[in-house]
Symmetry: C2
């Protein structure tokens, strides 16, 4: 990655922001549309701060069944699933001391240690065993070898689903309880964002395995048509758009005129792009390293810049103030897009701007979450009007499906998550049926104090 | 089938016995071991008494997804799943009138109408919609064409599992609720025996789809190692061996000496079989149509004869009295096996006895339940000592697995049912988590009054 990208300043970020980074970069609502992942990427803080002492952990690999739900010969294939255990504080099986299980999400397990404080923070008080299980197809738990090879093959990537993943967790936990003679020890599963969905779904589907779940920042209602007619729209929209609102708010707070300039810029980009030579005008104006192929690349890039600046508003470099000072300082006479670029360049001062870093697309699309969003995690996330500074972008299922089919050859199943896990009338269902699920919102209620 | 087999008298049986026939012939514990199905078969009462008026039913076919849990190209195959609806008594969507859904089990749907009284009996009082859904791979709901072809192919039969089946039910019910604008109508799922397991599992896995379940005669505890160490053995053994005890009791009641002769006969068969020319001696003594290949065929045959006689003890033909009169009347001087044969022949009077009717094995093994028992429905059912008149037969997982592998090429997964559905500490789990599941025992608590 180009050293002039803002990610090099991550080492200076305090843990609370890293925590947020972890939650946010893991959040499905971080990717409000498929195209957005072509913009500037958030860097994982994998080599920065270690929230755990690696010496206390032992790593194991479980012989995991590829396909739990069918009995075809291929279903019986076994892959190695990684999990890690820390028994430093565990009170032991005879004392019925609890087992805290972190359910891995869409990252290698290594990345999650940096941002998951709950287990480490609470284990000493509860004398709990800490278990971290990696999600299938991530990190070192990839069936059939390298993730790149696996994701290219429509048959091998087809077993990459949430139902298989939580069945994996059930198998590992039951195996562990057997090995440790810990059948009577209560199990609490923990997860954040997508992992939070997994934790709540795990408690719903495997109540005989987990006694409780802590689901942090889990947008389980953001599926299918759980929309106005059910009265959940305002709730789910609020939760899932929280990131947009936060970014929006930070920039609005910094400068009202800056906010309005950004708000105006999207349609101006479209207008210029539609002119003869429009794309080359834009390429020049934004000093792109290579000519623009379409205006979306530019909009996605700028969107990620603002999001990033607001989210990781490092006090030592002040990206928000710097960008807005640039935008506002360009003067009233300057046109909207020139002001935008002045703001961008005031902070980053790059010789040219690489809107689509090589390898980013393939890494995103063939590294897990892109596939999951195109198979079952169909969250109809859109911005339907001009109430934020970001461009309106209504969710369009048809084009979403077309895009997924062109990428992966198979169509998403937009209703499967609500069919299998529920969602409609979830309050009613949870009250009547489930218990011991804590839903916390990671943005307002930091995960590390979630206990 | 040979017209001299006792099944031709079924037409005379009253409904209450037909009910029992349905429950019992559907019951997994009807097949205490794999070999038993090589004995005399119970005939389905498919053309005898109709418990419903077929004019009130409309038949539909749902475009069902072959594989709900994976996203391989093959997973997207669609098959036609049959379901039938009777809206004669339904109070309608606006009145939030309930929907009773019978979850098909290991029979064609047509067979089940004869024995399932609950829906028809209760629909008028609850103004309920009656829905009957056929289980995948049975009746007219077979993917890929004929069941014989499908079951020969290891890939096509591999999608034949309970998890897929209950996901099918969820899809059909949600589709129906959508079509009928009946989202607010409570759904109660109903099933007996294997279907009863499905009903209870459905309520556990899809609480957002079904508000309640009536699970009749469902041996959900008969899996894995839910055995003495957990304190469930006596309970589950009692439930699952109920059929054996009933047969046992009926014959013991008829004649104590008959009972004792049968009890002694099993070891005597083994003793004779182990002698030189033993099998041909047995073939002669029991007038078999073709020479015996092993003593198990004879024992299985006799076991099914006694079971059948006691279970369907038609008052007009009195099989129990006739068989026991023959056994007891042979005189004290006659050897045990001759007395047994005299009893058999007194009732059936066949020219020869066909212990392994052609086609029976393949029909059983390739028609569904044999496969299900060899994939996930691994119920460790055995008779561990001489407390019944039947031969002791401890369950041996190793030989069970070997037999399944030789038949189907894949190994059963004996722990999967308890992993996915639970079972250990089920009382605790049900009390803490589930609700609205009624478990009734079909043998003592007839299904038709189960409401």
């Amino acid at each position: 990655m180009n050293s002039s990208t803002p990610t090099h300043s991550l080492k200076l970020l305090p843990f609370s922001l890293l925590f947020l980074l972890g939650i946010v970069s893991a959040a499905p609502h971080n990717i409000p549309r498929l195209t957005a992942i072509r913009g500037k990427q958030f860097k994982q803080a994998s080599n920065t701060i270690l929230a755990y002492n690696s010496e206390d952990f032992k790593t194991f690999f479980h012989n995991q069944t590829l396909d739990h739900f069918n009995f075809r010969p291929d279903s019986y294939a076994i892959f190695q699933q990684r999990y890690m255990i820390n028994d430093k504080y565990w009170g032991g099986a005879e004392a019925n001391a609890p087992i805290f299980v972190y359910l891995g999400a869409e990252n290698p397990l290594d990345d999650d240690f940096n941002v998951i404080g709950f287990l480490a923070d609470n284990a000493p008080y509860f004398k709990a065993l800490q278990v971290y299980i990696e999600h299938r197809y991530y990190g070192q738990s990839v069936p059939f070898g390298s993730i790149e090879e696996v994701m290219k093959n429509e048959d091998t990537r087809g077993y990459f689903s949430s139902a298989q993943a939580i069945a994996d967790y059930a198998e590992v936990i039951l195996h562990l309880k057997g090995t440790l003679s810990a059948q009577s020890c209560p199990v609490i599963v923990v997860g954040a964002s997508y992992g939070g969905m997994l934790a709540s779904w795990f408690r719903l589907k495997y109540p005989h395995v987990a006694l409780g779940a802590l689901a942090s920042s889990a947008p389980i209602l953001y599926f299918d048509d759980i929309t106005p007619q059910n009265g959940y729209y305002s709730l789910s929209a609020r939760i899932s758009s929280a990131l947009v609102f936060v970014n929006d708010g930070v920039l609005q707070e910094a400068s009202e005129s800056c906010y309005k300039t950004i708000q105006e810029s999207w349609s101006e980009i479209d207008r210029v792009a539609s002119q003869p030579n429009g794309l080359s005008i834009l390429s020049q104006k934004f000093r792109t390293c290579s000519p623009l192929n379409n205006s979306s690349d530019l909009k996605d890039y700028l969107e990620s810049i603002y999001t990033y600046a607001a989210q990781y508003n490092d006090p030592s470099t002040n990206p928000v103030s710097n960008i807005c000072a640039g935008i506002d300082g360009a003067g009233q006479g300057t046109d909207v897009l020139s002001r935008i670029f002045t703001g961008l360049d005031a902070y980053y001062q790059d010789s040219c701007y690489n809107l689509n870093p090589s390898g980013t697309t393939s890494r995103s699309y063939f590294n897990g979450w892109g596939w999951q969003r195109c198979s079952e995690m169909v969250m109809p996330i859109g911005r339907s009007d001009n109430t934020t500074m970001f461009p309106p972008e209504p969710f369009d299922l048809d084009s979403y499906v077309k895009r997924c089919v062109s990428l992966y050859g198979v169509s998403p199943r937009p209703h499967w998550v609500t069919t299998y896990y529920g969602g409609h009338d979830i309050k009613l269902v949870l009250r009547r049926f489930a218990s011991n699920i804590i839903f916390s919102n990671g943005l307002k209620d930091p995960y590390s104090s979630g206990g």
